[in-house]
Amino acid sequence: MPAGRPPKTVLTLKVNGDSVELAVEPRTTLLEALRYTLRLTGSKQGCDKGDCGACTVLIDGTPTLACLTLAVECQGRAVTTIEGLARGPHVHPVQDAFDLCGALQCGFCQPGMMLSAAALLEANARPTRLQIREALSGNLCRCTGYKQIFDAVEVASGQREVAERDPRPTTGGES
């Protein structure tokens, strides 16, 4: 950072379960801090200003736009990014279902989309199609037309079966 700007502040936050300390300028958004300071580049930037939802992360479990959140306002809060949605070696059911259903075309909007979907399922284990549409309406996708995304959320919530359940390579046949 060139000289002459307001000094950085040090903050502590819980990112994907890890307590991390980092120094940010007050003007640094949570998205910039995640992507460029912590190198958690799974959270994406698509529109600069809250119009697309690609930067969605969970703050204390709630889907939030990281591009319109100041990092300094996250002091002491728990942030979950797509890198932290899976716990241990197993992907989250939403991630697995998105892969199975073809919902990951270019994949760029999907980290935010999957976090919105995971938060929905946390609050509502068996959402209706309309509830899925509503919960994802702040996450724009340009590839899929959304159908395979809706299907994937239904698969993740056990309300739909896929036509062919191709096993994940990492589980040696189990999925």
């Binding site: 007050p26 809250g50 119009d51 300094v72 309406s137």
Partner: protein, 330 residues
Amino acid sequence: MLTLPPFTYHAPATVSEAVALLAEHRGDVKLLAGGTDLLPNMKHRLFTPAHLVGLRSVRGLAEIAEKDGAVRLGPMVSIARLARDPLVEQRLPSLQAAAQAIAGPQLRQMGTLGGNLCLDTRCVFYNQTAFWRLALGYCLKKDGTVCHVVKAGKRCVAAASNDTAPALLTLGARIRVAGPLGTRDVALADFYFADGVRNLGLQEDEVLTGIEVPSPEAGQRSGFQKLRVREAVDYPSLSVAVSSALDAGGNARWVRVAVSALGARPHLVGSLESLTGSKLTSAAVAEIGRIAHRQCHPLTNINIDPAWRRDLIPVLVKRAFETCRLARAS
């Protein structure tokens, strides 16, 4: 990506600390609530304050409660909470409908009621990047002298685009404001002005600390309709809120209608007194629609055909009455 300009951030713990910070940095400071309006505007360099005062740590600004004949709403109550709160559902159905129609899920979680009421007015010639506005040659609201909406216009007509305002106007809300000299109460109807540059009756060193809505009378009902291109995300192209109280015989004790997303001030439709004491038949509602239509003149401040928006005022008024919900006992 679009950057935020540099600033110093303050996190007061009380309203009086916030007011003191605002007074100290007067002329170069902004209040930050949910950030969903201010931060995009700062990325667009519409504001470049040296200081931001964050309200997140101030206690006591997020209550929802009914006492002493009024529903009290804290300004830091999130739009998402308004959209699902059972008390709001029972007592202020039109406000809940308005909250549900705001933006998308994440923005409703982040955005606050206070922030929505204080939303900066919006215009296609204003909500743009610094480069874009340079290429335009700037406008009356920011850095320029010309209005691109009303040629030769002397007063900014940027649109009030907050969905909660018309609902709360028809519910007779009052707001409480804290400043260096103490607190003051003001009717929401007197809070807005028809000047797009500054449409709020709020001084730079004042903080909105509470919204108070009179507890609904027996037979009170309210409804809300929003016109937008997409079913999520979009600001209103037009919004209509209605409220009325019917006596035991089904006659209106009063009727209020507000239309917004037109100009700088949400418009509380006048000349509805003639409906007092009469039944709100479809003919009466059509007459209200005609009155509203006469009083409202959408402009090209929003990039949706103004003639069409105007044509739809009576339709939205009708539908708002049709979808009215009765306020239930708490």
